[in-house]
Amino acid sequence: MRNSRWTNLIFQLIAVILALGFTTLVMLIAKAPPLDAFKNIIIGSIGSWTKISDVLISWTPLLLATTGLLITFTAGLWNIGIEGQMMIGAVFSTWVLRLLQESTLPPALILGLAILGGMLGGALWALLTGVLKTFGGVNEIFGGLGLNFVATSINLWLIFGPWKRPGVASMSGTIPFPETLWLPTLPGSRLSLWALGLALISIVLVYFLLRGTYFGLRLKAVGKNAKAAYLLGVPTWQYSLAAFALCGIFAGLAGAMQVLVVYHRLIPSISSGYGYLGLMVAMLVNYQALWAAPVAFFFAALNIGSIQLPVVLKLDSTLSGVLQGTLVLFVLLMQGARQKLGIRN
């Protein structure tokens, strides 16, 4: 066991080195200074407290999305629809705020209800994918993609229709909520400890859920061999639906955080692509909850740090995307190579 863990680590390291090498090569071809670029990414992400807090802000929804995806991946499901689930979570959250912002309820209660609303919205939307799969025979990848489009159009329709700003409807979203309805942040910072705490609690919960509970084990069984799990007495489609619903809850929570902490309103691309990024993180950590937090942090740091590239070096900041993408590819490649070389677990 120990032996295999070490080889595992070595292969992952090789993958990281290869990804860095490939990115360097791309930069050299583009006649960009790789060392400067990497240095700027590092400084731009963890060079100061402000930067670190920016990374943490980005980390929160990414970690929540990844947390949800760990559940669906465990159940053997490709929940591509997570983007839509985040969006509908954000829509529900916004809806609750709009309904209650004129009321006399204490803001804390309204915020709490908005968070719950977001979770409910995400769960319902995810269940829709699950129902389509279970009862309609629609593969969750295609169902999820379709529902992502539907969620986007619902979102746009709301922003440009019923919830538009007085006067001109705008890409910049609905009118911002009053500051009383923002989730409290640290003084002088955009970082909300509430959001951060919710994300950390979520990942810890899911870690134990998947590791130590009957539910987690049965979910794993469904994911690895649904036929056998069924014969062993696991109600498979019910567990699939539960996995979708749980993932939707975390996705919806991420959507709610985008509304309550980051944008304070509903905007067209409220999910910020965290769902897709979360898929990459989940693949990279091989669906292990333990590694999700640090790797998600790394991805968030890349996102924030790469902003320095155009500012300082006049480089295209998609470079961070190249690094993220190649990292996933090389890790998957290395897993393949490891199996090919016959190194057994």
Binding site: Y214, K220, A221, K224, A228, Y230, L232, G233, P235, N345
Partner: protein, 540 residues
Amino acid sequence: MTIPPHTFLLYHIGCRLSVVSHFVIHLIIIFLSFSHSLPSHSPMNVDLRHIHKTFGKVHANDDISLDIPAGTIQGILGENGAGKSTLMKVLSGFIYADAGEIRLDGRATTIHSPADAIRQGIGMLHQDPLDFPPMKILDNFLLGRAGGLFPDRKTARRDFLALAAQFDFSLDPEAYVDRLTVGERQQLEILRLLWLGARALILDEPTTGISLPQKEKLFATLKKLAAQGMTILFVSHKLEDVEALCGRVSVLRQGKLVEMMTPPFDAGRLVESMFGKQVTLAARTPARPGLVTLRAQNLSLEDSRLQIHQANLDVRAGEVIGLAGMEGSGQTLFLRACAGLLHPVAGKTLVGGRDLTGQAHHAFKKQGVAYLPASRMEEGLIPGLTLTDHFVLAEKMRGVFINREAALGLARQRISAFNIKGTPASTVESLSGGNQQRALLALLQTPLNLILLEHPTRGLDIESTLYIWAKLKERCAQGSAILFISADLDEILQYSDRVLVFFAGRVSPPLDAAQTSVTQLGQLIGGKGWETLAGEAAHA
């Protein structure tokens, strides 16, 4: 009762030959008419020298040297885990040997991959045929064929049909592979390897999934191919198969080559070489049937290929019923219907007097019905999960969190009770076939009313087979009824109290196993003698 093994084996062979003589004659006629179109290849000599392979602490192949002249049918005998499959995987490029040399026609060579092996003329037929389920048969057939992006389907189709006709395999090239039985998949794989130009053919336990007539067809074919210079490595743990077919036999035990023999084979010595000890056969205990646990009432079933009309059966507590028939004759449909995995189009299924018709498998499970599928790794066990995980899954949930200590204790107890070679942390895919089957049995809950098994001992050595039946008989003694499918007629007659024969969707009335001979059974599964049967049924 203890009998010397060779007597036991001779009994088998004697019965078989008489049953299938008409098939053999039939095959000879077929082969005479097709022999001109058989693929002819230059002969190849396969020489393995000092092959070593270890997995962790296990020395799977320990200095094995084997020189096989072209045109030989070389038998490789050994119990499960003796290293047979490992040796064959080395030869077919799936794994590299740690040390040693492979020489083909006297030239030392390295085989990099299975694709490389087939390029060099070595084709391997696996224990679990590797295929791509959602494909059409013809597309699967075309796989691995060099020749550009757009294969010539027309020619391939013609070749396929010609080859299939030679072996009397009734495979529709436009059907889908996932609809095939294990036996039919093997047939397809054989055709494909021949078509790809194999000069040496490795068959790993090829007779386990297929029916008796299919097996006879196969043997005749292999002999014909060998006569034309094909080198054949025939891996098996069944002495009678090896004796009927092979020109030479080598025996592996615990990674070492311990015996090499040419005909006439001394069966006793072979068994001793395989196991290092004598084997005891379980005594046959007459059943004392109790209450009806399962009643199939005018059960009509159908799938895309087959229909069963109005089958009736009462299964009583403590009895064993064997379902005989060629692959795909309807016995699987019937068994699955008894498990609630297939809903009947008409009729009723009652378990313990309760009508469960149309209910899901879990409702049956609740009434004490257990189902053990044939494809252990596809339907029975969950690759990636440990033995402990499996035992926890099979038990009832207690609370939310799994008690690891208790789970480990349970796993240890079951592992020792079922003599499984593995640890609580072993993943099921790391176990050998026999141990996987033991694990499946170990997962059965207590008490059970009805145990449904597909091919419970397929691919297992004699020792494991005996062990598993001993465990099943214990269950019968506790009041469980057993329904099982087997392609091995001897197994059916040996362990059943009553036998149901299936032929193309027709179901025979239950036959008393004690009053039925292998010959009679062989004719029935081939579709002969059903007229008299109807009379018997009426009489009964």
